[in-house]
């Protein structure tokens, strides 16, 4: 299992629950998830916090089917069947990976508008790990 300890998870709550990103003070690029050094200019670790909107578009996606799920998602796959995982291009620029939710896998399309929502990701050490997944956004442009 891709083990993420409770303290490590806890420290990343702003990005996992609220999608707080960072804006590089040198080149102005937006990083998400937050980085130690700006991944765009590779020259600055001086950031300001930026609250992302959670809006984005599906850049690409894949369906995780039987046997393809990592151990922490095996139960989810057994209970709910195959699930889509997407790379989403956020409105603010960064591309992030995340599960799609609240959608029939057949209805996922390239370029569809999505919005980040709080969902249960998995449970480890008796602790429910909440975080964002992407749901179709009918009102999205």
């Amino acid at each position: 299992m891709a083990h993420v300890s409770v303290p490590m998870y806890w420290r990343t709550i702003p990005q996992r629950y609220k999608m707080v990103g960072q804006k590089c003070k040198k080149c102005g690029a937006v990083n998400f998830p937050p980085k130690g050094v700006c991944k765009h200019c590779n020259a600055s670790s001086d950031f300001e916090e930026l609250q992302l909107s959670g809006n984005g578009k599906v850049h690409t996606f894949v369906l995780i089917g039987a046997g393809g799920a990592p151990p922490e998602f095996a139960e989810q796959m057994k209970a709910g069947g195959s699930y889509p995982v997407a790379i989403v291009e956020l409105a603010e620029g960064p591309k992030v990976i995340g599960q799609m939710t609240d959608v029939n896998p057949k209805d996922v399309k390239f370029g569809m508008s999505v919005k980040a929502e709080l969902k249960k990701i998995y449970t480890e050490e008796g602790v429910i790990r909440y975080g964002f997944k992407f749901a179709p956004d009918a009102e999205g442009k």
Binding site: K18, Q76, G80, K120, Y130, K133
Partner: protein
């Protein structure tokens, strides 16, 4: 005196549904009077993710930034933890201030109105106060127990303040008594129990709902026929009708808020979702009566008067239509009933 009421609201209905026919196929009958189908949460959802969604949407419907919230009240009978603050998860996700007073209301299906009234009291007493109420529920019982048949899933959120009102709260009344033997979960148990004596439930339900509502109508000097919408706790789709007549309400008044026909028993979110549905179809000047019930036992009655035609998007009806059916086996898996 300053008016306090609902400035924004939102309902959430999970996309998945199961039909009564699938229960009948599995068990020979479906024991949820008047319920045609019910809503089911997905594997990655729980009452906190649903509460987060309605809290956010309710604030957006005003619109009001989450940073303005001074009070957050969460209600559910199906908490993912028996001990650990629940409201904090929602508060952080939505971006409400850490200094807002947050509370969890969890021990009976009356919790939704309990949260609503405590939030209302806060706004009344706080200059510029803004409260968010989120009631979300997906009650559970053993699959072997007919008590499980009506149990659905849903959530509703409300923003209470003294600005930009959609509906003004005219007042509330409560009735609480000691009662036992119906719908209880002893310490250490995960599933609801019921001694299955219909009379136990019927007596307490009748007493609490009619006393709370009767006291409120009297206090306000209102007449039952003045209410265009009446929302009574819906453990199934027939029970509210069994007490409505005693309060001099009729079926037409209950039509807009009878959500259990399509969603089942929403537990602590039953009257909140019913209220959101009623608000969606209400016109300016309409009065709405909400009467909750929680086993153990108690009821709250809340009277509202609609003062604006503003409606959230998407509406409750649109959400009802967006659905995908699952069969009984998928249902049992999603409910976590296969260990």
């Amino acid at each position: 005196m300053m008016s306090v009421g609902i400035s924004g609201y939102s309902a959430y209905v999970p996309r998945l549904r199961i039909k009564k026919e699938d229960y009948a196929k599995a068990w020979g009958s479906f024991q949820a009077a008047g319920v045609a189908e019910k809503s089911v949460m997905g594997f990655d959802e729980d009452v906190l993710t649903a509460a987060a969604k309605v809290s956010r949407k309710a604030l957006e419907s005003v619109p009001l930034p989450p940073g303005n919230v001074t009070r957050f009240a969460f209600a559910s009978t199906t908490a993912p933890y028996l001990e650990k603050l629940l409201s904090g998860t929602v508060l952080v996700n939505v971006g409400m201030p850490n200094g807002a007073f947050a509370s969890d209301h969890t021990t009976s299906t009356r919790a939704g109105t309990e949260a609503f009234i405590s939030a209302f009291e806060h706004v009344k007493a706080t200059q510029g106060g803004v409260a968010v109420v989120a009631a979300a529920d997906a009650p559970r019982a053993s699959m072997w127990d007919p008590l499980e048949h009506p149990m659905g899933a849903g959530a509703a959120g409300f923003v209470l303040s003294s600005d930009n009102l959609i509906a003004e709260v005219e007042g509330y009344s409560s009735y609480v008594m000691e009662h036992f033997g119906e719908r209880f979960r002893p310490t250490g148990g995960d599933l609801l129990q019921d001694l299955s004596v219909k009379k136990f439930f019927a007596t307490a339900f009748m007493t609490c709902t009619t006393k709370a509502c009767g006291a409120l109508v009297k206090k306000l000097g209102a007449k039952p026929e003045e209410y265009a919408h009446v929302v009574i706790q819906q453990p199934d789709a027939k029970t509210p009708g069994s007490v409505a007549g005693k309060m001099l309400f009729n079926d037409a008044q209950m039509a807009s808020g009878l959500v259990s026909t399509n969603l089942g028993d929403l537990g602590a979110a039953s009257t909140p979702v019913g209220l959101a549905a009623a608000l969606d179809s209400a016109k300016v000047g309409d009065r709405i009566m909400v009467v909750s019930y929680g086993s153990g036992a108690g009821s709250d009655a809340i009277s509202l008067k609609v003062v604006s035609d503003r409606k959230p998007v998407p509406g409750f009806k649109e959400q009802l239509e967006k659905k995908e059916y699952i069969d009984y086996i998928q249902y049992v898996k999603l409910k976590g009933a296969l260990k």
